[in-house]
């Protein structure tokens, strides 16, 4: 009796769902079939033939053009902006909060909300073509401090990455332990921009962080790592004589890349790099930066320890970075500031920089 009830229930539910799915599939095939559509990007620079019916964001991704997106197509992050000159239909209510009046005039749309139904003309910033996906091999792991690891990744043979020093990549973790899903986080590139077949990242273990725990516990030399990039607008502007650089913890990564960029290109900028840490055991890359300081007089390295232990015999600045900043940066004349670190530290530093005359136009930062 009970058995037959269960059987009929399952049977009926299966029949109803099957019936409905057939109807939906048929409707999808008939109603959602827009045939092949031509995408004309930047006035004929790139012509793509795609199968219509999906969002512009996903179709571009399938053509290996990666528009930055953090929410995955739910119209909540507002990052996936592209210019749609023709064939995009009216602006949708879901997009309105993210598109300013100025952008509306330039036909900017959220690519996750625009569905490809006809031939389209698009305008996509040149640098986004640079964004690629790489399957890298992890060739080296080094403990820089007790909680920061340096990863050295080798790009697939024949592929190269062109990035501006200071930019970041997205790092995809694989399922491990109790974590069932893939996750991704952004990490700044710490290696030189001139080195295009390898990448280095500095990853600090965040308590309970999905990706950092993966990197610190599950990842082994020889593993394959999926990355996409480069992204971000944290890179050298250089419209000045002196660069004030400030970093805390793993925020050193993009600054290291920036310093090497200035040196390798032979740029004349003076650089002053304030590196904040708590105690001696949080410091790393000390020898390297001291060496650069000896070799290049234009570069000054100022490590600051907030709480040095007596036995450390610390000779440098004691106190937060803000103290050193207050003392050693006199004014903002012909200076730009580049900051990377925790929000708390950045906010405190930005406050001080502003009292010295720095403005939103001369302060560049990467918060994490």
């Amino acid at each position: 009796m009970n058995f037959s009830v269960i059987l009929t229930t399952v049977g009926i539910l299966a029949a109803v769902s099957a019936g409905l799915s057939v109807i939906i599939s048929v409707a999808d095939a008939v109603l959602n079939n827009y045939g092949t559509c031509q995408l004309d990007i930047n006035n004929g620079e790139k012509l793509l033939s795609v199968k219509g019916g999906s969002s512009l964001l996903s179709l571009l991704a399938s053509e290996k053009i990666f528009i930055p997106s953090a929410c995955g197509g739910k119209a909540t992050c507002g990052l996936c902006k592209v210019g749609v000159l023709e064939g995009g239909g009216p602006l949708l209510l879901t997009e309105e909060p993210y598109i300013s009046l100025e952008e509306r005039k330039q036909h900017i749309r959220l690519s996750c909300q625009v569905k490809v139904k006809t031939d389209m003309k698009l305008r996509i910033p040149e640098e986004l073509f640079n964004i690629k996906e790489f399957l890298c091999e992890l060739v080296e792991v080094e403990d820089m401090t007790y909680d920061i690891k340096r990863l050295r990744l080798k790009l697939p043979a024949g592929e190269s990455i062109k990035f501006k020093a200071g930019q970041f990549v997205q790092f995809y973790s694989k399922p491990y332990g109790k974590v069932r899903e893939e996750a991704f986080r952004a990490y700044s590139i710490s290696s030189k921009a001139s080195e295009t077949d390898h990448l280095e990242l500095l990853i600090r273990l965040v308590p309970n962080g999905i990706v950092t725990t993966y990197v610190h516990t599950a990842l082994q030399v020889g593993d394959t790592v999926r990355l996409s990039g480069p992204y971000g607008d944290f890179y050298l502007r250089g419209d000045c004589e002196e660069l004030v650089m400030i970093a805390g913890g793993s925020g050193l990564a993009p600054i290291r890349s920036l310093v090497y960029d200035v040196i390798e290109k032979g740029l004349p900028h003076k650089m002053r790099f304030f590196f904040g840490a708590n105690t001696m055991r949080d410091l790393y890359y000390m020898e390297e930066f001291t060496q650069i300081e000896r070799d290049y007089p234009q570069f000054k390295f100022i490590p600051c320890l907030a709480r040095p232990a007596p036995e450390d015999n610390w000779q440098g600045v004691t106190g937060f970075v803000t103290v050193a900043l207050e003392e050693q940066v006199a004014d903002s004349v012909s200076k730009e500031a580049y900051l990377c670190g925790s929000p708390g530290m950045l906010d405190a530093c930005i406050k001080i920089l502003k009292t010295k005359g720095f403005t939103d136009e001369t302060i560049f930062y990467d918060k994490f």
Binding site: L20, I24, L31, L91, L93
Partner: protein, 197 residues
């Protein structure tokens, strides 16, 4: 047996005296979250009304000719919900294809509406009260208009509130709840006309 009430009375009653939101408090989540702008609220109200009438028109025959004869009452909730979801999905695809302008205005709300309790609520009321097809149709149309009316009223008030100085404690959803409560009390005034429940 269908109750002996004129469908027209059901229609008017479902707008005013048994308003989906102000009397039954159904469909509150989208009512609260999409009521900050009058224009958007209008779009959502229109979409709810459309989906209500359509799903009721489809679920009524399913109930009468499938669920009742085969004694499947214990499965009605699942079947109703699956039918609603499928209908909304197909409606969205159809709108996108043939009426892109309308889709731009309403289409984005359709996925939201699938899980709106007012939609299932209307269908369950239809079942409990044994409505005939015509009664059910007018009931669903009226309920949709009532929901639309309520969200538009709230949106109009919230647009005014957006530029008003308010004590920090009541800003946002808190005040929306209070306003809804006052509107519901005002709607009690309609209950003298006639009731259907």
């Amino acid at each position: 047996m269908a109750p002996n009430i004129s469908p027209l009375i059901i229609f008017i009653a479902s707008i005013f005296t048994s308003n989906m939101i102000l009397n039954n408090f159904l469909g509150m989540c989208s009512y609260l979250s999409v009521s900050t702008e009058y224009k958007t609220a209008t779009g959502l109200g229109m979409a709810v009304t459309l989906v209500l009438v359509l799903t009721t028109a489809i679920n009524w025959p399913i109930y009468t000719y499938l669920i009742v004869p085969s004694n499947l009452f214990y499965l009605q909730y699942i079947i109703f919900i699956m039918v609603i979801a499928a209908t909304v999905q197909i409606l969205e695809m159809g709108m996108d294809r043939y009426t892109p302008d309308l889709h731009a205005k309403l289409g984005i709300f359709l996925p939201l509406i699938t899980v709106n309790c007012a939609i299932l609520g209307v269908i369950l009321f239809m079942v409990i009260r044994n409505y005939s097809f015509v009664q059910a149709l007018l009931f669903s149309f009226g309920s949709g208009l009532g929901w639309w009316l309520a969200i538009n009223m709230l949106a109009a008030i919230r647009e005014k509130l957006a530029t008003t100085k308010l004590p920090p404690g009541v800003k946002g959803p808190a005040l929306a709840f209070i306003v809804t409560g006052i509107m519901a009390m005002a709607f009690i005034g309609f209950s003298g006309i006639f009731t259907i429940q």
